[in-house]
Amino acid sequence: MGNTVIKAEHISKEFFLRKAQAGNYTALRDVIVDRFRSVSKGQLSRNQKESFLALDDVSFEVQAGDRVGIVGRNGAGKSTLLKILSRIIAPTRGRITIEGRLASLLEVGTGFHPELTGRENIFLNGSILGMSRNEIQRKFDEIVAFAEVERFLDTPVKRYSSGMYVRLAFAVAAHLEPEVLVVDEVLAVGDAAFQKKCLGRMSEVAREGRTILFVSHNMEAVQRLCNKGILLEKGKVALDGSIDQVIRGYITSNSSSKSVINIEIPDNNEQLPGFAKSVSFLNENGTLTGLVPVTSDYSIEMEIVINKPLDHFIAGIGFITITEVPFRTIWTAPQQIEPGVYKVRFSMNDVHLAPGAYKLVIGLSNNESSFHYVENQVVLDISDASEKKIDERIVNLRSGLIVNQVPYEIKKV
């Protein structure tokens, strides 16, 4: 173990942004005209090109058998990285060494031809993904069984339902046996049951000791499948470590764990009955904190602006896990409120959450209709560091969401 399968050194990828043109491709005609113009003006057209670094000095190593989740926001460079690893595009700078056969799955059903039958497409797609004819023949029955399309093998795939199409396409890909498998967000297709099956198959592949690089926005899938993670931010490696660390980094990077989180003021805030301005977290002693220690009390304070007198005002907060499971709601009792700036403080001294990041949803309503609803802006970060030493032994990843002590007694009988 411990031998490096992928070694990426200082990878950069530069894209040139063309100035907005009529089409999305170049015509020689335009190139000639441009050259001519720039020559007549006595300047070179080259410096008019704007460049953009999709990847900026990215280095990392992947060991044999690692399942690496690559996470990051849209435009962070994940897909570019996968494309470079798959040799579809070339890096502008840097060097990558890959030991063993690498197969990539950036799209389900690449090269599927609608006119060809399921059987024909299995062979075609398999060979496009890098399988030999013998390999496909050997796994043919397995692929068909996985896709559940036995009856339609000799039907052109253009007559398939989209579900069947995707199942067949994934089935072929799932039976690839390279040393390194690179998978882009392909699990986002298909129904829930099939997604589960795909994930199952991927974990099976992982158990066979293969190396996997997996890109997804589905944190639950990433967490289940991967043991290592790489967080990309604006083309740079922001974090490289265990998957839990990286997922937390990703979640908190969405709105870095600050003690006061300012909420984007809605454009029409003048017309609204009111809006939430900011949310802050206070520790047991009432001082502002960005990171709440596990098993300690804290409070959540939100600053709100009320524009009109309201007679049935409610402020609420919803708690959602990183895997998008809503699990808790807290709210104020309905009340009359006059215009002004208010602070609403919730004392969180009942239930203690396990270490990790949680998304908070803020809602303000009047007469049971919500007038300001804030999603994906506020993150509560519970730290696994605690002054109470004993907790470290109790709280771990398997502790679940809630880590409370309840009154108990131990009696000798």
Binding site: L28, R87, E120
Partner: protein
Amino acid sequence: MGRPKTIIDADHTESGYWRDLWEYRGLFSFLAWRDLLVRYKQTVIGVAWAVIRPLLTIVVFSFFRAFLSEDVNVNAAIISVTVATIPWQLFSSSLSESSSSLIANSNLITKVYFPRIIIPVSTIMVCLADFAISLVILASLMIYFGEVPGTEVFFLPLFVLLTLFASLGLGLFLSALNVKYRDFRYVVPFVVQLGLFVSPIAINSNEIYGSATIPDFVKGLYSLNPMVAVIDGFRFCLLGTQWVVNPTGLMISLSSSVVLLIIGIWYFRKTERGFADII
């Protein structure tokens, strides 16, 4: 450890390119097989297309030929035009199919790695299949007219190969250019159309080379067209020795197709790594 090692480097093109090409030979045959299947599945008359297209050209040019030459032997005109049309069809369809092949397969290029050269080459295989069908037509026509080729017929594969080299060279070059500058798709039909008239289909190379009024440099320019050597060669192989291949002309045609092939491969390899960025 017998595992293959891949090095992706910004500065050099991968050294393992030709090794990869060998590893992906399976994909090559699958792509050719796909194109063939699709071609004959989608069209109503399927195989008939491979027959009709050359047939129309043959009819038109046979008329020309019959009118152009003094000996009004219609049978000889038809045979000589047919023998010329068949390699010309191979050349023109290989050229047009291969030069648009990269654009047509852009979904593959942006999603999977393989040596891109496989795409234009495999489309030429489909044209070769059409060519095989038209050879059958030619054979039946020759039997009908009682024309029996001599032992020269064994040279025929050489001229088929020369056709493929010429169309591949130009096809690779144009397909790579097509990725970057889409207006090159208008160039190809033009080249094909022009080629039809400067190639010895309705005319006879012997008349050109033997003419006293045509200056030498025009004869040289005429020979630059690789299809001149190919068509002369086809006539020599199938219709017998009265169709003499002009040795100087053959050398010029041969060199121009080799140069085309070298330029084609060189330019293709040079731009290949950037295809997925701009396609």
